[in-house]
């Protein structure tokens, strides 16, 4: 094989793509259609709750086009990080969609399902064996931390995909995957350069985001050759430029020269970006440097409690000038009120928009204050009921709080909604972001197969 051609229809499965671009992609006779279905960007909730952050109909719409087109062209479809996070319920969510499509269209194909979620006991054992180390800046974990974790997944490299391809899978649905793996697997299996294959995968995983104008819901096409790869956007509205591609190499990475992943890192110190036509860019020189030991990345979250929020606004300039003291006084009153009642362990926060709300995670970096403020009162406690109590009490206390110099004595807050309080449900936080040393990177991720015959 002189060239591997890869169609990336969309940046995240369910984000959609124009049909015209997809048809252009199929005309170029791809050897594989691959798509990344997830990200940790939407935060810890989705991994913890076992819920997809992409919508069922949107995912089904994309797969309903991709799978029949690939079967007709006799090429594989590879889906990574199913259901957004790649845990068992996330894979299940996506599997149900594939089953529906198979049934509705009466399709014949072999589906590989690759799991990436671990049992806690398994992780505890590996921790005890010293196989788990924190990925800076995450901290060391203890057995108790693992026990408190709701769900742990590991990012697979290309090895399980290669195994599933060798075993004849037409469609591969995988749990948590290193984003480039779904794009690079077939190429690495066919003996293409791993550094180039993974670098190409890094760019294709965001589909047309690397083009100009960028889009997360349009197709990108990759041509991998022996000593370079070429990128081509499939919409005439977009162009790849050396700059758009190089700039994308920066995106969401720690250091653009060294991009670590399972089993090693790609090194871009020698990478060259060349414009070869109006809309196509050629990249060469990227190298894969394996690590001595093979590591995969673990991701896990723990449950923190339940959240209730209330949104309220302030226009009174006197109140605005004293807002920090008022918020502190309200907080003290809430703590004092429930101290002897038995509700003591809760988190109460006032997000004050118009006064360094967006960047409150950094201390004292903004002095200017808006002429009106939006306050989000947030309570998190170990039950929804307690969170409701704390949020509601903080809200009513703030509404009627008699701060010094107050002349607006009817009420301090403007509520945009009735009811004013909103139950948000379970709250999670990342607790595991660690490396796991493995001997056999394919064996770590169990594969099962389903043979669909006329949709069943």
């Amino acid at each position: 094989m002189e060239e591997i051609r890869i169609l990336s229809p969309t940046a995240i499965l369910g984000y959609g793509f124009p049909m015209d671009s997809f048809i252009e992609g199929m005309k170029r006779k791809p050897h594989v259609i691959a798509v990344d279905a997830g990200s940790t960007d939407p935060g810890p909730y989705y991994l913890g709750a076992g819920i997809s952050f992409t919508d069922k109909n949107s995912v089904k719409r994309d797969l309903e086009i991709m799978i029949p087109a690939a079967l007709e062209a006799k090429i594989p479809v590879i889906i990574g990080t199913a259901g957004g996070c790649g845990g068992r319920p996330h894979v299940e969510f996506n599997l149900e969609i594939i089953k529906e499509i198979a049934k509705e269209k009466g399709l014949n194909f072999k589906l590989a399902v690759i799991q990436s979620e671990f049992e806690k006991e398994d992780i505890k054992e590996k921790l005890a064996q010293g196989l788990i180390s924190p990925l800076f800046p995450a901290k060391e974990i203890t057995e108790q931390d693992v026990e408190d974790t709701v769900r742990i997944v590991a990012q697979m490299g290309e090895e399980p995909f290669i195994k599933a391809l060798e075993e004849g899978a037409d469609v591969i649905l995988a749990g948590r995957s290193y984003d480039p793996s779904v794009f690079s697997a077939l190429a690495i299996k066919e003996g293409f350069d791993k550094g180039l294959a993974i670098h190409l995968g890094k760019i294709l995983e965001c589909a047309a985001i690397a083009a100009l104008p960028g889009s997360g819901s349009d197709c990108m096409f990759g041509y991998l050759q022996k000593d370079c790869f070429i990128l081509e956007p499939l919409s005439p509205l977009r162009k790849c430029t050396t700059l758009s591609v190089a700039a994308h190499t920066l995106y969401e990475k720690t250091n653009p020269y060294i991009l670590p992943g399972p089993g090693g890192a790609i090194n871009l110190h020698e990478s060259k970006f060349e414009q070869i036509s109006d809309n196509m860019v050629k990249v060469s020189g990227s190298k894969f440097v394996p690590t001595e030991e093979y590591f995969v990345k673990l991701e896990g979250v723990r449950k923190v409690g339940y959240r209730t929020i209330s949104c309220a606004a302030v226009k009174d300039p006197i109140m605005i000038s004293k807002i920090d003291e008022i918020a502190q006084s309200v907080k003290d009153r809430v703590i004092n009120n429930f101290e002897h009642y038995g509700i003591t362990d809760f988190f109460l926060d006032f997000k004050i928009y118009g006064k360094n709300g967006v960047m409150a995670m950094f201390d004292n970096i903004e002095e200017s204050v808006g002429h009106e403020l939006l306050i989000i009162i947030e309570a998190v406690a170990d039950t929804q009921e307690k969170a409701n109590t704390i949020c509601g009490f903080a809200r009513s206390t703030m509404l009627h709080f008699g701060y010094e110099g107050r002349i607006s004595t009817a009420g301090n807050l403007a509520f945009p909604f009735s009811p004013s309080d909103c139950k948000v449900g379970e709250v999670y936080e990342f607790s595991v972001y660690h490396l796991l040393k493995v001997d056999d990177p394919a064996a770590l991720f169990p594969i099962s197969y389903i043979d669909f015959k006329e949709g069943k």
Binding site: F136, M361, I365
Partner: protein, 105 residues
């Protein structure tokens, strides 16, 4: 001569790089200005840290990336993405202090 970063950069952005890091990209409009900034090293740890009121030790990397005529700064996220106290889960609106940056060349 004093320059405003917003006058010489075409992209100034922030984003999570995984749940424990925040990363900032500054892409310059032209290679000439990028080279001058790089040679004078006007964007460095000492300039960046005070913009965010963080110690320099929280900066994981500050790299000039020639192919994109860009400077990339990655820092320890003050809290992990989505942890209690979060105000920007994706980290996509943490770039504003950079827009005030001025420097001499």
């Amino acid at each position: 001569m004093e320059y405003k970063l917003t006058d010489v950069a075409s992209v100034i952005r922030s984003k999570n790089s995984g749940p424990y890091e925040l990363t900032f990209d500054i892409i310059f409009k032209d290679f000439e200005m990028y080279q001058k900034v790089k040679e004078a090293n006007v964007i460095n740890e000492k300039v960046f840290a005070p913009l965010y009121n963080i110690p320099e030790s929280d900066i994981i990397s500050l790299v000039y990336f020639d192919p994109a005529k860009a400077v990339k700064i990655t820092i320890i996220r003050p809290i992990s993405s989505g942890a209690l106290g979060e105000t920007d889960v994706y980290g996509a609106q943490q770039h504003a202090p950079l827009m005030k940056l001025k420097f001499q060349l």
